[in-house]
């Protein structure tokens, strides 16, 4: 058995004329936490579906756990946990039954499935809701139940498609904590996200995808180091003035991005640049110095922001 659990070479997926994934190549090592970062429509979900062997590739090579997803779907999926973008929980069943039934789909015995369901209800902090219906659960609870469900078969690898989209900050942090524990236990995590903080929290390594292609690859810190500066100064002058002021301060910092609502100045010392701008008499309405994030990396690579 090779050390990589996923190996994609020139992986391509076309729907009629539309190219969703355009010849991407990457490998994921066992135990690694791997993130696909990109805006909506970048081809992240399609890539995930091909890995989960619920979508057949148009061309290129793909092996998952040393098997070919096009013909070994059931065998591959028996070792995967999949958390889809939308919680498709079974509304006709109760919370615990959702887990039991899912375990039975994998061929677990009733006793095993029952034991596992109770452990995972505990893990997902849902033990007290075991016999409740699914519908009244909050968004965060449903998400946790979906993740618990994906762990019923004790998977070697967990695929998470936008795991915290649509959740409030508190629910996201609970979820990240649970995922982090799994990572510590050695489960391979593959996640897609368009949230840079999520990618930073959970991924050892990230590929940035846009329009079905890989734009860059590395750890979050490496990507920031390579594609951005240490700090970013954000200044706002009001939407009608940003462009004209930007031209006057173009020489400040290493690089500048003008967004509709603000100007981003990339530099190693944001405070110093802010002082320089102010010295020239361009007092911004608001200003902020922050560290570079993956959002800046993405902006640099594609000229567009992640969340549009």
């Amino acid at each position: 058995m090779s050390h990589s659990v996923i190996r994609a070479v020139n992986l391509t997926k076309k729907y009629d004329d539309f190219v969703a994934v355009d010849g991407i190549s990457f490998e994921v090592a066992r135990g690694e936490s791997f993130g696909l970062l990109g805006p909506n429509g970048a081809g992240k979900s399609t890539t995930m579906k091909m890995i989960a062997s619920v979508s057949t590739r148009t061309s290129g090579e793909l092996t998952v756990l040393d098997l070919d997803p096009n013909v070994d779907g059931p065998a591959i999926r028996s070792q995967l946990g999949v958390v889809p973008q939308e919680d498709n929980l079974d509304g006709e069943l109760r919370v615990r039954e959702n887990l039991l039934t899912y375990g039975r789909f994998f061929g677990l015995s009733r006793a095993e499935a029952g034991k596992r369901a109770d452990e995972l209800l505990e893990f997902a902090q849902l033990s007290d809701r075991a016999n409740s219906k699914v519908e009244p659960l909050s968004g965060g609870m449903k998400r946790r139940l979906t993740i618990a469900r994906s762990l019923m078969n004790d998977p070697q690898m967990l695929l998470l498609d936008e795991p915290t989209t649509g959740l409030d900050p508190q629910a996201r942090h609970i979820l990240w904590d649970r995922l982090f524990r799994l990572k510590e236990q050695g489960t391979t995590l593959v996640l897609t996200t368009h949230y840079m903080d999520e990618a930073e929290q959970l991924s050892d390594r990230i590929v940035v995808v846009d329009k079905g292609q890989i734009m860059a690859e590395g750890s979050p810190a490496e990507l920031i180091r390579t594609y951005s500066t240490r700090e970013v100064l954000e200044v706002r002058y009001g939407s009608d003035k940003n462009v004209s002021v930007a031209a006057l301060i173009a020489d400040v910092g290493e690089r500048q991005e003008v967004l509709p609502d603000r100007i981003l100045i990339y530099s190693d010392n944001g405070e110093q640049d802010l002082a320089e701008i102010t010295r020239r008499g361009h007092h911004p309405t608001t200003s902020l110095v922050r560290r570079s994030s993956l959002e800046d990396v993405f902006l640099r690579l594609t000229g567009r922001s992640l969340v549009e």
């Binding site: 065998a75 999926r77 070792q79």
Partner: protein
């Protein structure tokens, strides 16, 4: 290592060999929610039997079946038995499947596990035919109590009726797999109602002109009615083999179409 053993490769990843888990889920869902609703479908043919068989039958008297005189009630009862099997199978394989397919997204969930599209097809069709089978057994009991099961061979109508239910269930699910909207689902009664009324259910099709007879014979219910009637009356003809073959082909075609459709819907 995972707790789950990987299933062998069967039919190129189409089958995980665990359709029974889907049947189990169906039972559990029914028990949790709507086991009383299931009874509703059983009564429809029973009401027809009382109204037409007992009420109208009193005026009509007897009817000639291939040279044997039988009561009108005994003539329509087997037809209604076939109808009850059809109803059960069709309710489950059309509206229930439509909901699971387009709203509950249940099949997508199933296909995230080691199940394949063929497991889903077999499991769901089996559930539908079981419902048809339950209706049929109940109806046959009512028939027997009313003295309308004329032959001891009537008991063998049960496996036959299950085959009929399987045929309807598989084709019903195949039909539903193409349906996207409620409006499209409205085509269903437009096929089901005339089939129910005109398939030698209440009178022999010999009263129709030749071309209409041929048309009726194209539809599955006529074959089901004729076949079941042979078993409950004990008046057999060689046509039985043709009727049986019709349902075997219907079932096989339905299963293949459903598995393919599920593959193209969810594994594209």
């Amino acid at each position: 290592m995972s707790a789950v053993t990987a299933p062998k490769r069967r039919f190129g990843g189409m089958y995980g060999g665990n359709a029974r888990a889907i049947i189990e889920r169906g039972f559990k869902a029914t028990m949790t929610n709507n086991y009383l609703i299931i009874l509703s479908g059983f009564f429809e043919p029973v009401f027809y039997l009382f109204s037409m068989g007992v009420g109208l039958g009193g005026i009509i008297g007897t009817i000639d079946l291939n040279g044997t005189e039988i009561s009108y009630g005994a003539y329509i009862a087997p037809a209604l038995l076939a109808v009850s099997a059809m109803n059960g199978a069709i309710y489950d394989s059309t509206w229930n499947v439509f909901f699971k397919l387009n709203f509950a997204k249940l099949y997508q969930t199933m296909l995230l596990t080691s199940l394949g599209p063929l497991d889903v097809a077999i499991g769901e069709i089996t559930l539908a035919l079981l419902r048809g089978g339950i209706y049929a057994v109940g109806f046959l009991t009512v028939m027997s109590i009313m003295g309308l099961a004329l032959s001891p061979l009537a008991i063998f109508a049960i496996p036959v009726v299950i085959l009929i239910a399987a045929g309807f269930a598989s084709v019903g699910m195949a039909f539903t797999s193409y349906m996207k909207t409620f409006q499209q689902m409205d085509w269903l009664p437009l096929v089901m109602l005339p089939m129910f009324l005109f398939s030698a259910t209440f009178y022999p099709i010999s009263i129709y002109p030749e071309p209409i007879q041929v048309l009726v014979q194209c539809f599955p219910l006529w074959h089901g009615v004729e076949l079941v009637r042979m078993f409950t009356t004990g008046v057999f003809t060689a046509a039985a083999w043709g009727h049986l073959a019709y349902f075997v082909v219907m079932l096989g075609t339905g299963v293949i179409v459903v598995a393919r459709r599920l593959r193209s819907l969810f594994l594209r």
